[in-house]
Symmetry: C2
């Protein structure tokens, strides 16, 4: 079989280690030039394929590709673009075939979360339906850790390490001032419907009962009375209370707590559930509160990445190319846990049809009886994922990250395509 | 002269490195047991002296004291308690004399910002006025960098390194998604009236014109029209815009921008100027925005401390004890810059009378012509302060910080004192 070119793209919210997966893909492809000729990266995910905006990665040096392993963000740009089904929107798929054909692309690698695995799955259908043979492999990525089958999602371990480190450090600060000033600190955590990241904050506890004292998980309905009682109890017992609050918590009415927040001008405010719960505490319990919203910091903090996570992100990138070369199709490399302690794992295949569009929430067995903490089983699951430091190089006191050249390959098609 | 005991306390907001100063004080005192017997630490700053709540540091192991060098927070507790003048509130000072006499304290070390140097200065007056000879030495500390005479304040360099690292990382994230989604990211920075920390965010720029594109400094009046024009210009030119906004910015009316923010329940919100400026952008320019508020994270992020800052924090602690033993009084060890590049510094004496209650703002020569950036002079000043990494040890994936035993020395006075 003559060698074909490959398409690789990144999708959804970036993570601290998605570029480590890119590094795995590109380095492994370079080692298999008999099977894979050039790797074209889609600028901004699948949009790059639809608009024929293909980045020629072959002009990047080996050193630049290696530096991706320690660089946050999505080096080729990302998107949240969902393909409709082949039957609803056949012209999108015909366009993909046109572009792939024009650039002799025989391999499709798509790096993202549940929605992105759906894209990879759908693109895989053009082989049978549009008679364009292409190997489609998904590569898992999300700080939310909500992709099924894989034991964990690359990106999650580093976000978990960042968040638990923040909680531990803020606790050292808070416990210094709680006798004379601030009693409560709340950190707002991403993750939408899935509480994995909020749960990971619990790893910060120095001992049983240590901070964080209260987790507000999106899997548990927010109950104001019970929450305030829990905060009061912790504050009376420890003199201070640390809270990790998921951006996605909902009240008994099923509405996000953060919905309906207005600023001074009466405009709806973007996010910010931490100020809401701390205002509630201030008003009902009279405790002085501080709050933080980490936002993008939690998904880009490569400086405090988990070495375990970096290794896994790199490994799924390498495995994706190896799977493709081995003739596998419509699969995603998934992490399989072999043991908790010592932590051992390997890579298996997950069918794209089973991972696409699924959302793996925190299981009930991981949530403590009162709903404000995690169980020993959750701790066993989470603990190994944050282990190991993988510091990036520093220059002049700052992390030295790489910016690729990202030069577009010459277009071969006359027709433009609107996305 | 027979050896006397010493009193050491921490005051104001903790930093990532105030315990490095404590380490310097305690290790140096232990090396001079002929002159200094025990070091008692005040629990919660000067309040510990007034309430006779003295922590006996002699029971802590050398290893625990050494671990303070890499532990954030204020190990002995902190406060924001201001002493009135000796003439207004003489009984406070008489109480201090009582406590010091009961515990044979001849040295007073007070570790904090401008307000705390005022406390050290006032306590120094009990020698002359109340006839209780005591050596008083201030030790500088503040993330705000607003203490005069000293070239920089220990704590600032680490906060500056943390913030500029966050800005750089968030920029890698934002630039991945800006073509298809979020255009603006704003990070809210502490510092109240002084813009040093917001200015330090500018170090994150990878090249001339790089992010952050807009600094909102408290030294510059917030002008909505000019601000929006600047954001629009940056976004049109770079496709995205990164903003560092000081919590202390004020409008033309002299009011804090963050005043008057109401939450969904109509209650005043605690802080949060980043959501205000991003809402403004969203409404007037239609750009999708994200924002983060680092709050305590920026002053406790010991995991990304500046090695330069750790060295200076430790050095001022050591110097304070050496000054005291050399018979100096009513002074504060200050950092003197000898050259920018290579960066060289030493320690000099600053009279407490000249540092107490002064606030050193960003000088006009450090602020760019348009008010939204910094000058080359500012960059020369700031750059060396974030250099070097000083990672703490990690255990199970998390920083391994020390908690001291903090055992109180037996009280010798019957009388209690209300603070």
């Amino acid at each position: 079989m003559p060698s074909k070119n490959a398409f690789y793209a990144q999708s959804g919210g970036p993570t601290a280690v998605i570029n480590a997966s890119a590094c795995g893909v590109l380095q492994t492809a370079r080692q298999h030039s008999d099977e894979i000729n050039k790797v074209y990266a889609g600028r901004d995910g699948i949009i790059g394929a639809l608009t024929e905006d293909l980045i020629d990665t072959s002009i990047e040096t080996d050193a630049a590709i290696a530096a991706l392993k320690h660089t946050p963000g999505a080096a080729f740009g990302s998107c949240r673009y969902k393909l409709a089904s082949l039957y609803e929107h056949r012209e999108q798929y015909e366009r993909l075939v046109e572009v792939f054909q024009a650039h002799d692309i025989g391999f499709f690698f798509y790096n993202g979360g549940g929605d992105s695995q759906d894209t990879a799955y759908k693109v895989g259908q053009i082989g049978a339906v549009l008679d364009y043979p292409i190997v489609c492999i998904g590569i898992p990525k999300t700080i939310d850790n909500d992709i099924p089958i894989t034991d964990c999602s690359p990106g999650f371990g580093s976000a978990a390490k960042y968040l638990s480190t923040c909680i531990r450090e803020a606790t050292f600060d808070l416990s210094s001032v709680s006798r004379t000033s601030t009693k409560v600190f709340a950190l707002e955590v991403m993750g939408r419907h899935a509480g994995w990241m909020t749960a990971a904050c619990a790893l910060a506890a120095e001992q049983e009962g240590g901070a964080p004292h209260v987790l507000l998980l999106p899997e548990v309905v927010f109950d104001e009375r019970r929450f305030l009682a829990k905060v009061k109890q912790a504050t009376e017992r420890y003199d201070y209370c640390v809270i990790a609050v998921s951006e996605g918590i909902k009240g008994p009415d099923g509405e996000f707590l953060s919905a309906g927040v207005k600023d001074a001008f009466g405009h709806a405010q973007l996010g910010g559930v931490a100020p809401i719960v701390t205002n509630l505490i201030d008003e009902k319990l009279g405790y002085k509160c501080h709050w933080a919203v980490a936002d993008y910091l939690q998904r880009s903090a490569r400086h405090i990445a988990s070495e375990t996570d970096v290794q896994q992100a790199y490994a799924v990138g390498c495995a994706a190319v190896e799977f493709a070369i081995a003739g596998k199709n419509a699969v995603m490399p998934a992490i399989r846990r072999l043991s908790d302690s010592p932590y051992r794992w390997d890579i298996i295949e997950a069918p794209l049809s089973e991972v696409a569009n699924q959302e793996k929430l925190l299981p009930p067995g991981f949530i403590s009886h009162d709903g404000f903490g995690i169980t020993a089983a959750a701790r066993r699951y989470l603990a190994p994922l944050i282990v190991g430091e993988a510091y990036p190089p520093f220059k002049d006191g700052l992390p030295d990250y790489v910016r690729l050249q990202n030069v577009a390959a010459p277009k071969k098609l006359v027709k433009e395509f609107a996305v």
